[in-house]
Symmetry: D2
Subunit: 358 residues, 4 copies
């Protein structure tokens, strides 16, 4: 094992650069994982642009696929050399938040044990996965062995995209026979579409405008795809549902228009499941909100993490129910990650997700 490694480091707003860093040494509960594949997330672009603040010098990235290089002294149940993933969210398991099932808001070490977004550590509060090595904290709660026969790119979406996307359907409590609309068919929206399909929705309507995404949407499970530039998506969804509206509306972009459209197509008693990261205050318009009397549920969800979640998502892949490889549209070496950021942040060339390989 070398002593130095390459890592994509946040320098200042507008600049993420590949630089050298010391390979870290695992504490008692950590695991050092050699990254074999990772990827760039929309959140990383928020960081790049300075819209989401992180410490200067931090390694970015929260989607690790790799091999256990070294286990902390107190870590049991794993072996060096195992192929593993870890979730974007790495809960401690021991905080008050975790102990009541709210792992993503993990407040380990805080006074009350709850901390907003506290479970998100990689590339946020600790060094992340866009590097040759990453330290996985609370390794026993977070390392998930990759089932035999699955390649890196097959499980690359599990740490974040698939976990988040599926949670959109899960938080919407999609039931057999439901009608579901998914606003935006980027990687997370596509996985929300797949999740709704997997949970038994029978009419799934994806909304986007990029032809390639609209096409993949059908492959991922959408029964209808609405081009919001060609038609008014609210009107079109009401037409497709014959005026009934949807049981569950999933927001997967993070904007007022999509949030509001999700509410406007929701039937009374329905659930708006929100995945997007918003950048400003949101407005709940009075009429579709039924003045507060519509028995509506609005739920927001941060990507579920932990090894059990990862295990289940990899089971989905291993079972052949869903294949997320079509989401990987580009491949770059870690050495070229700055170019990958350039491509991804400008959404050029029909990019969905980029596999980064050290």
């Amino acid at each position: 094992m070398p002593q130095m490694m390459k890592a994509a480091i946040f320098v200042e707003p507008g600049r993420i650069v590949l630089d050298e860093k010391k390979v870290p040494d695992p504490g008692p509960l950590d695991a050092l994982v050699r990254i074999t594949t990772t990827t760039i997330c929309g959140t990383d672009v928020h960081i790049l642009k300075g819209e989401y603040p992180v410490a200067k010098g931090l390694t970015i990235g929260h989607e690790p696929v790799g091999i256990i290089e070294k286990l902390g002294s107190a870590v049991e149940g794993f072996e060096e050399g195992q192929r593993v993933i870890a979730g974007a969210i790495t809960p401690s398991g021991i905080s008050n938040a975790c102990l009541c099932g709210c792992h993503s808001q993990d407040g380990a070490g805080t006074k009350h044990g709850f901390k907003p977004l506290g479970g998100w550590r990689f590339g946020n509060t600790i060094d992340g996965a866009q590097a040759e090595y990453v330290l996985v904290p609370d390794a026993m709660a977070n390392l998930a062995p990759i089932p035999d026969g699955l390649e890196d790119e097959q499980v690359l979406m599990c740490p974040d995209i698939m976990s988040t996307g599926f949670s959109g359907a899960e938080s919407g409590a999609v039931k057999i026979g439901d009608t579901v609309a998914v606003f935006a068919q980027g990687p997370i929206g596509l996985c929300a579409t797949a999740g709704a399909r997997l949970m038994g929705a029978t009419t799934i309507i994806g909304v986007d405008t990029v032809p390639a995404r609209m096409e993949i949407a059908r492959a991922m499970g959408a029964d209808h795809v609405v081009d919001f530039k060609a038609v008014d998506p609210v009107e079109e969804i009401m037409r497709l549902t014959d005026g009934r509206g949807v049981d569950v509306a999933i927001e997967a972009l993070g904007t007022q228009p999509t949030f509001e459209a999700a509410l406007r197509v929701l039937r009374p008693g329905g659930t708006l499941s929100s995945l997007g990261v918003y950048s400003g205050d949101l407005t709940l318009p009075l009429a579709p909100f039924c003045a507060g009397l519509g028995d509506h549920t609005i739920r927001t969800t941060l990507c579920p993490g932990g090894k059990e979640r990862m295990r289940r998502l990899m089971e989905v892949i291993a079972s052949g129910r869903i294949d997320t490889r079509p989401l990987v549209t580009h491949r770059y070496a870690l050495d070229d990650i700055e170019s990958a950021y350039d491509l991804f942040s400008h959404q050029r060339d029909g990019v969905l997700k980029i596999a980064i390989q050290p």
Copy 2:
């Protein structure tokens, strides 16, 4: 039985008057109930002011306590002369909405079986309870016999105030050991306080400023009462919870400041249970909404109805767990209902609820 009766009728915005109407004849599934006690709701004031539109000539009121005068030809299981109540919401039981448990959004007779607020019929889409007689539709689903030994005023809050207030705690899924804040301690907020207590919350914080309401709040179960004119309620609740915030925040007024304050005191992963009737668009401020990543739930609830709900609420009263009689601060004859509206709409004389007796 007389052929004509007195009824409080909506004439035009600003005018609800007592006038004569024909006593209606029950259809096959209806029951004619002779009102012995009813009351005026905040919603009726919205109607009075023209803020919530109803048909001219409609009898107002949705909180009936009375005696079965005559049963429709197809109604079985009840007897004339029985003392009964019916909920403010009178679900049909047979619509698609009802069949999936969404009784308040009952769309009986509509194409898809869902209709926003469709379960609310009394004093909204059919003649209401501020009269000598009222027709209860779908009587078999809605008539609830009053247990022996309970007086009219003991059950007068069941049809709406108590059902709505309790639902604030129920939709918040209050659990043993929860900390709950209830914004506004009017009749519904007071019952939300009582509901949170009844479900096992161990720290209940009521917010209001009217001394009489603040006092009753303690009697209904509040551990702390915050005067929002004396202190900043968000700061005070954070202080009372030692910075932790609340597990469940119940909004019981219907304004942006209370809605927003409810969100601001909510811990990550918590539930904002909204009961208020809003009169304008709402804003979800970015930071307390955690930019959409706080695993929050926002639920709105319209008063649950139906005879099973009424039965359970009357059981609460009969068991002595809660006494809602202190909410009845005034009593008027039906003949004087116009004065009662005047008092109630101006919230004079410390009024909470007015018992109206024909």
Copy 3:
């Protein structure tokens, strides 16, 4: 419309005969439906054998597909000539049981509003569907129009088999990534398999021994099929799950060995979802029951009914998610129903379900 019709009538244990009956006249809330296709259920065989007592002279059958012939005077929202189905369970919607979501235990007309199995009326407490005509009670809650383009045999499983089978997965609260075992792959077990698949289970293990059923099991969604005569099913399931056991075990036969095996393969904290109709006391063996400390859930479910349920199931068919036509292995004219009973009750000729056409 003729005045007399043919109907399969229970005469005495061992004898169900085709006889003539008067075509009934619908009461105000009923609908008269002309049967176009129906089928025989295992429960009907229990009735035939005298194991489940019904009144002599009762028309048997609870799986109607047909055309509305005549609507009761108070029935709105439907039209004569519409193609419809009704569920095996026909809830009133108005009892206390229905009003709290427990439609199958509908106690309309009883003192407390709950009655064991009370929602099951067709061929149990009122005349059933193995006839030229059937009266559908509480028609507004129970008639479900067949979507355009679906043929009778495509929706024939919806009233009972599919509703029951799916409920096995639903009551088991199957989640994405679950491992599920389904004991017995008769028609209901096959639909439980399909339901588990539809809800996101990623390892589904069907248990049976009849080759044809084992083959269809794979088509309906099983990842593994265990022949309980070739291997010990508990051992084999533990082997297939690498010693982990299953998250949800579905019992779809109604015997002690299958019930017990379901418990034996269940992981701690798992759910045993029981669909079978048992004919004797059951034993919960101490060790797999963890002496009562395994955080287990055992749930029994009676077929969900009502028009909203039927609508959703037909949506599943219309969406192409599942095709239940392979379950129809035989076709008989109503005139030959006695032969159909003979074939079905002896489970000859690989029979799964028989379509009966008047």
Copy 4:
């Protein structure tokens, strides 16, 4: 700190003796707690009698109240000298079981992460609390500071009795207005009664025969107490509920007659919540089980643990909602614990719980 301590040690069936042991040294994640008060549980008597096997030489007891003496090197967020409790169940937080909310079946270190009863370690798989000192494993997940002002005996029931008893009501999903029967009013049954009251049940029926327990039952929240030696409890409960039966039946003894009676008084669609530790196979009688068609739920629950659970239970005490001190009927020095076992195992002198103080 002395190097040796006294501890109640299992020697062989029939013999638990007070002996000397080395004071253990905390590992990195442990905390050494000096016991100030502990108690004896019915489970300990099972161990004493050899009915539940544990290793010879093991220190018994799983209900620690004490003071942090020494923290493991990796433990953060606590201070030596803090007064704390830990639950009878001490989940790791990091196993697959824990990560999906099934903390009591914690399988940390096992292949799949689930282990029956795995969360129960004190006095079962590791040394317990009937000693001068106890090592709390996974201290960060399990140490719960005692709120100021609460004495040892006020929180002594939290680690097991109250957590288990309340879980009987919680697993029964008791709702406002429910009718609940609790079979046996020993310490756990009494807390189940209190839990049902705390969650909003309005008719609570306790069953026992010991006069002192029947009296405390009323103080803990029972509306009716049935003496099963004076009357048939099933008949009496059906009489008290006017033939309706109960919504939730809680079994808190662990015998066939109480389990069966719980089923017999359950309404269709109701929940049997089982807390008892059974010592033989159980029988589910056919008729009250509705032959498997009653939409029943049977749930077993092992005492919930972890610091968040303990925090909430102590909140219940601190709020004054419930006082469990009346359950402490006797007090013994640790030196006299053999006599305490003698008294407790023979249930002499009206004993409910014995406070043991080193």
